[in-house]
């Protein structure tokens, strides 16, 4: 709690934020009784919850120092936006201290100040001023901003005639030309078309790696994994985990796992990524899956499936079943399966989920879910366009039974 610390940074100390559910009184008729209650001392104090109130943030603490890139992940409603709004002074914390030191550049709501009737040029000056850029600086960087945005010939056209992509690109271009001491980035990575996204991400990465303190909020886990030095995992207003990026992502994804049902005919108990959690495109991943057959329920037609899922969009890219590998599960008792598959996929974050199906009843889909793992795929062999896992399955420590081509979907 150094009072006179002037190095740029973000400090969040034991912050609590109370929100109101449902309607607030917004006409005088409702307001007077509520004020009367407050005056009579019947209202809740700052530390108590009144009717319809809840804590959006509970005792959240973290700090970001120069050179650090901290990510915040969590589901919708976990408190990510509330943290950003508290940090940027849009809303005050109910209790605790939220502070930024230095000129803050916030890549949040990058086109919020645009007025539809004004031209692109007029909006650059307006939005720049809203973001805290002096007019002289905007004038100096105006040409760069226009060039970066790519709206060039339309800069003197009212923005209401812009496409939504042009709007967002111009907004991002202004924000990207701020020179802040502290950078706060919210889900702005999905702006414009693919080409612009790459450019925007490159720009952001350069800013983030320039040594200033950076806070990133995103659902795009692979971007978080690429940018962040550490991550804060939020759950229902509380910090569930704070620490190394991959560990935080693992915990976040673990939340989404359905535990194996003990009543299922085949119970999947454990999954292990023997080849490690970081691989390159084209590498072979080895997955060991331990389970048990319940002889009272098993019919002998059960299959174990390992699916490869893109965690960005949730799509399943490939599914490898135990019978494809010629493996028959034992009639009862524990077993171990070893899957091997080639990660012929784009760099990103992928999940490997296990489940149980019944042979010839593919329409019924999975009858039980098992544990899952995830793997971060880094750029490696150029991606060839189809997901070809070239998978093998074997039981226990036996030799592979069959090598099979396994076409399934595309990226």
């Amino acid at each position: 709690m150094s009072e006179r610390d002037l190095t740029p940074g973000i400090e969040f100390e034991r912050v609590w934020k109370k929100f109101q559910r449902g309607e607030r009184h917004d006409s005088l008729r409702d307001f007077i009784p509520s004020v009367a209650r407050q005056i009579m001392g019947r209202g809740p104090t700052a530390a108590e919850l009144g009717a319809n109130q809840f804590w959006a943030l509970k005792d959240v603490s973290f700090s970001v120092k120069p050179g650090e890139v901290v990510g915040i992940i969590g589901r919708n409603g976990a408190g990510k936006s509330t943290i950003l709004k508290t940090l940027t002074r849009i809303i005050p914390p109910t209790l605790g201290r939220a502070e930024t030191r230095g000129r803050v550049g916030a890549l949040i709501e990058i086109a919020a100040g645009f007025h539809q009737d004004l031209t692109g040029k007029e909006n650059v000056f307006l939005q720049g001023a809203i973001m805290g850029m002096p007019r002289s600086l905007i004038r100096q960087r105006f040409d760069d901003i226009v060039e970066f945005s790519g709206v060039g010939p339309f800069i003197d056209t009212p923005v209401k005639r812009y496409s939504s992509g042009m709007n967002a690109r111009l907004g991002f271009a202004i924000a990207a030309h701020l020179s802040p001491d502290v950078l706060i980035i919210d889900e702005v990575l999905s702006v414009g078309d693919f080409e612009f996204q790459q450019r925007a991400f490159g720009r952001m990465k350069a800013l983030a790696q320039s040594g200033i303190p950076v806070l990133v909020v995103s659902h795009q886990l692979e971007r978080v994994a690429e940018l962040c030095t550490s991550v804060l995992l939020m759950e229902r207003g509380e910090v569930r985990f704070a620490g190394p990026t991959l560990e935080a992502i693992r915990q976040y994804l673990a939340v989404e796992q359905v535990p194996s049902d003990p009543d299922s005919p085949v119970i999947l108990e454990q999954i292990a990524l023997e080849s490690g959690e970081q691989l390159r495109s084209g590498d072979r991943a080895r997955v060991r899956l331990a389970g048990r057959v319940n002889p009272e329920r098993a019919t002998g037609k059960e299959l174990v499936v390992l699916s490869l899922r893109n965690l960005q969009d949730g799509r399943t890219l490939a599914a490898i079943t135990s019978d494809h590998g010629g493996v028959t599960l034992p009639g009862s008792g524990p077993f171990e399966l070893e899957f091997e598959l080639e990660l012929n996929v784009q760099p990103g974050l992928y999940g490997l989920d296990s489940s149980v199906r019944v042979k010839a009843q593919t329409r019924r889909g999975d009858i039980a879910a098992g544990p899952g793992a995830h793997v971060q795929v880094l750029p490696g062999r150029p991606f060839e366009g189809t997901v070809q896992p070239n998978a093998t399955v074997r039981l226990g420590a036996e030799a592979p039974v069959e090598n099979l081509p396994q076409p399934s979907g595309n990226s």
Binding site: R14, W16, I90, I91, E109, A112, L126
Partner: protein, 301 residues
């Protein structure tokens, strides 16, 4: 659902600063963000004149209507009492009409300035004071155009250049401070209570009749004029009329004799202090209320 079992332990972050300190903070915020404020004012002006049939005609539309209504009313009054309406009366109504349209226009526009920019308030941080002040500035620009038009038109009504014209800046400054205080307060009130703008509209619609725009307080007789002088706008409007149209030095009192023989005040120099006593503390109090409540804006807008 949520229990308060886990209760916070830290005391609230900061104590509210004192009155003058709050005001100083607000002034500092506005000074630091004056570029943003000018940018907002520029935006409001541009939008008003863009894609508009009347263009800059807007600036004189309302004053012209006010002058025409004034002439109608004064003509009717003249018909009833046997008096008439002179050219300088029209000039006086026009001048006071422009001043009133500044007051009414700034309030109409300024009351809604926070709710109209709710998107920005909920998403981007900047000192919120710049919004109502920018609204008053944009109205100042409009009124400036009205004033220029008036200056071109008044000489044809037989109004000469009086040395007492030097009172004009002071009177306009008083009007500005009074208006800014009202706008700052109402914009904040309308953010929390959405019915404020309707109340304000009703008051402004009829307010012109309780303000000496179309007539002079002395016409109301002794008792009536006392009530008229309670309106803090009265000294400004009458001051404008006397100094600009009549060439009266506002440091000197002026009386007239009513039809029943009683002496009625036309001008009391102290009335300017009365208006200042409304305008200056009004602006201070409104700014402090605004400044202290602005942290709650984003959650209520």
């Amino acid at each position: 659902m949520e229990s308060s079992l886990t209760s916070p332990v830290l005391p609230a972050a900061a104590r509210t600063p004192g009155f003058l300190r709050s005001f100083a903070e607000a002034v500092r915020d506005v000074r630091q963000h004056r570029e943003l404020m000018l940018e907002f004012a520029r935006r409001d002006i541009r939008i008003r004149y863009k894609q508009a049939v009347m263009g800059f005609g807007w600036a004189i539309f309302m004053p012209i209507l006010i002058v025409l209504s004034g002439v109608m009313i004064r003509y009717a009054m003249g018909q009833a009492s046997g008096g008439g309406i002179g050219q300088t009366d029209i000039a006086a109504i026009a001048l006071k009409g422009v001043a009133w349209s500044f007051f009414a226009g700034a309030i109409t526009f300024g009351t809604q300035v926070l709710t109209a920019n709710h998107n920005l308030i909920a998403k981007v941080f900047f000192p919120r004071e710049v919004l109502p002040v920018a609204a008053v500035l944009a109205q100042t620009f409009d009124t400036g155009i009205g004033m220029v038009a008036l200056a071109l038109f008044v000489p044809f009504l037989g109004v000469g250049l009086h040395p007492t014209l030097i009172w004009l800046p002071l009177l306009l400054a008083l009007l500005w401070v009074l208006t800014a205080g009202v706008v700052i307060f109402l914009s904040c009130a309308n953010l929390f209570f959405r019915d404020v703008k309707y109340i304000v509209q009703v008051i402004l619609t009829f307010g012109i009749l309780f303000t000496p725009v179309f007539y002079e307080p002395a016409m109301m007789g002794v008792k009536g004029s006392i009530i008229m002088w309670l309106n803090p706008l009265t000294p400004i409007l009458e001051g404008l009329r006397l100094a600009v149209v009549e060439g009266h030095n506002l440091l000197l009192p002026l009386t007239t004799v009513a039809r029943d023989g009683a002496t009625v005040d036309v001008w009391r120099p102290a009335s300017l202090l009365y208006t200042a006593a409304w305008a200056v503390p009004g602006l201070l109090i409104a700014t402090v209320i605004f400044h202290r409540s602005q942290s709650a804006f984003a959650e209520n807008v």
